[in-house]
């Protein structure tokens, strides 16, 4: 029994991991090329393809349905491009139109299929909401069979796709067929999305394209690192989500995977070195402290230069001199700790020789 459970889990985790890797890798390009929501449109638009493939072939063999999905997703992408290029409709509205109309047509076909007495649509419903728990070994093999060529193609055309993402104009000037490369890369994205549909469903597949890439982007400025990280995040979220959903009662896998990847995004947004919000905050605080030290040192130096008799100045004077912002007291204590200023009497302050040297070295040249 335990073995059976483990086996199912292995299959599901393998499927979710595959989906994460493929969608993560291709998603990195989609996010960089501002096509994050194209994934949303493609996944919704795959529905009529799935249903049509079922109607035409009469089976629920995963390969046929996936090919149908890929074809419809592909047609949807072309429709989005055509609408956005050849009319005054903007890209966002083109996505909305294609997404909703294709999905509506899919629904129309789906209800038509449901009427047939022998055709239970259970296999088709899976595409709508995903059903990781129902993944079979053959499904996972199909996913890998589709996903691997996608990754290989990505590796082979790496340099070209990099140009496409960052400087298509330069690529064109080198004589590369940028239009065709665009079509190929988008085609790979379609396949990547189709691979994941059965596991997380139409609605949530877009998250698997956007989220791992958005998380990976925070950790690096290098495309190669980003793509690998993104695939890794996708796989991690897929596997962890699948495991949680199989261990906890009534935790549907698709949403659990998406929530896992969302956690990864939040962690990245806050903690990623350099770009992360937390580090930005720390940096801002340090910069403010540095500015305060500078202001007080400068004020002391300035007062000293004007009086020339080496007498101490009160904190209040420093505040007035503009060094105060937010209280000069704390900064003076800091200067005292560093041995740059010393306290005379209750609240009068004087630069130490070390402090004077420091201030002159830092700011003296400016006067």
């Amino acid at each position: 029994m335990d073995f059976l459970g483990d086996y199912t889990l292995r299959i599901v985790a393998l499927g979710a991991g595959t989906l994460g890797i493929v969608a993560g890798a291709l998603g990195a390009f989609a996010v960089l090329r501002r096509q994050s929501l194209l994934g949303d449109a493609i996944s919704h638009a795959a529905l009529p393809g799935v249903v049509l493939a079922f109607v035409l072939t009469g089976t629920k063999a995963p390969l046929g349905l996936l090919l149908g999905a890929a074809f419809a997703g592909w047609a949807a992408t072309l429709a989005v491009m055509a609408i956005a290029r050849m009319s005054r409709i903007k890209y966002d509205a083109a996505l909305g139109i294609v997404l909703s109309v294709f999905f509506g047509i899919g629904l129309l076909l789906l209800t038509d299929v449901q009427k047939q007495p022998d055709a239970t649509q259970a296999g088709l419903d899976r595409f709508l909401f995903g059903q990781a728990a129902g993944l079979l070994r053959s499904d996972v093999i199909t996913m890998m069979a589709l996903g691997l060529p996608v990754l290989v193609a990505l590796a082979l055309l790496w340099k070209e796709f990099k140009l496409l993402a960052f400087d298509p104009g330069f690529g064109a000037s080198l004589g590369l067929p940028m239009r065709a490369l665009d079509v190929v890369l988008t085609g790979l994205l379609v396949v990547a999305i189709v691979v994941g549909l059965q596991t997380v469903g139409v609605v949530l597949m877009s998250a698997m394209v956007v989220a791992p890439a958005a998380a990976a982007r925070q950790w690096t400025d290098r495309l190669g690192t980003m793509v690998v990280l993104s695939a890794g995040f996708g796989a991690l979220a897929g596997v962890v989500g699948a495991v949680i959903s199989s261990r906890v009662e009534r935790m549907p896998a698709g949403p659990t995977i998406v929530l896992c990847v969302t956690v990864l995004v939040l962690v990245s947004l806050f903690l990623a070195p350099r770009r992360g919000l937390l580090w930005a905050r720390v940096r801002a605080r340090r910069a403010r402290a540095r500015l305060r030290v500078q202001a007080v040192l400068e004020a002391l130096l300035d007062l000293d230069a004007r009086h020339g008799d080496g007498h101490a100045h009160s904190e209040a004077v420093l505040e007035v001199a503009g060094a105060g912002r937010g209280g000069a007291g704390r900064t003076l204590a800091e200067l005292e700790r560093r041995g740059w200023a010393e306290r005379r009497g209750d609240d009068a302050w004087l630069l130490t020789p070390a402090g004077r040297a420091e201030a002159e070295e830092r700011y003296g040249g400016r006067r």
Partner: protein
Amino acid sequence: MTGVQLEIQAIAAVTAAACALPGAFLVLRRLSLLSDAIGHSILLGIVLAFLVVQELTSPFLVVGAALVGLLTVVAVELVRGTGLVREDAAIGLVFPALFSLGVVLVARYTDSVHLDTDAVLLGELAFTPFDRLVAGGWDLGPRALWVMSVILAVNLVALLLFYKELKLTTFDPALALALGLAPGLVHYGLMTLVSVTAVGAFTAVGAILVVALMIVPPATAYLLTDRLGVLLGASVGIGVASAIGGYWLAHALDASIAGSMAATAGALFALAFLFAPGRGLVAAARRRARQRWEFPQTMLAIHLLNHEGLPEAAVENRIDHLDAHLGWEPAFAREVVERAQRRGLVRSDGAALELTDRGRAGARSSLARTA
């Protein structure tokens, strides 16, 4: 037509009209996909409100859902505001997360008999007439019809009251800001309308097809007009036509009404995309074809004008000379001259060509334009 059929069509039409009004502004402001995001994330609002009040018909569900719809917009703003991800990615991050949370809550804490994810996503218009609004023993009609009518009225009133503000913030936000119109406030006001409308509509058509009703009719209307007032009217008209047409398509195919409404709206959009006067693909192709012949005719007229009344005119202004002077194949030259004659620009006397008054005026004005 039975009473139920009539009621379904009325609900569909009112829903489409209510969606088209705020939808038009989403399309114009390039925020179309926020309708998709809001449509999905309201599931979370409905579930949260349901968990509190434990009742599916409570108005609190609508309030909760609309609040989460707004929260979606705020969250997208926040994520985008960090500068760490772009706007499209921000939308793509926020709504799947909220939707997932909603689905998990449904699975864990509610009895799926009461609250069905399918129903939220897909809606079922055919069942709406059976949920009646009954007051004091009187049957007042389907609840959905009342809800959507109220929402339509709210949208209309808001539109009439804030027409100027909406128009200016949509087309010239900088000027609107300078005039003190608070574009931010207008933005969130509009988003509130979108949320409330989406919440009302999802019971009828489902969250995904709310997008179809909000975006497709206004986009279709946008291909047909340049005036905001006309655009709004046409959006409502196209939306209602999609709703009624979709109903009968579904009736004929015995299929999902919401799906056929979206398909009909898509078909109307495709028609406009192809045949819209001036902007459709066909009109554009014809314009290009016309322009291909217009330019040589202008050249011909200018050529004739150049030599007109001069000694060399007898040599230059002949159809058989165009080959030498303009490099035109004889067949092409004949076609150009023929077209120019048909338009009354040129007279011919055997092989000799002469400008008409109209042709002369046209050539002069073309020259003036290039000078």
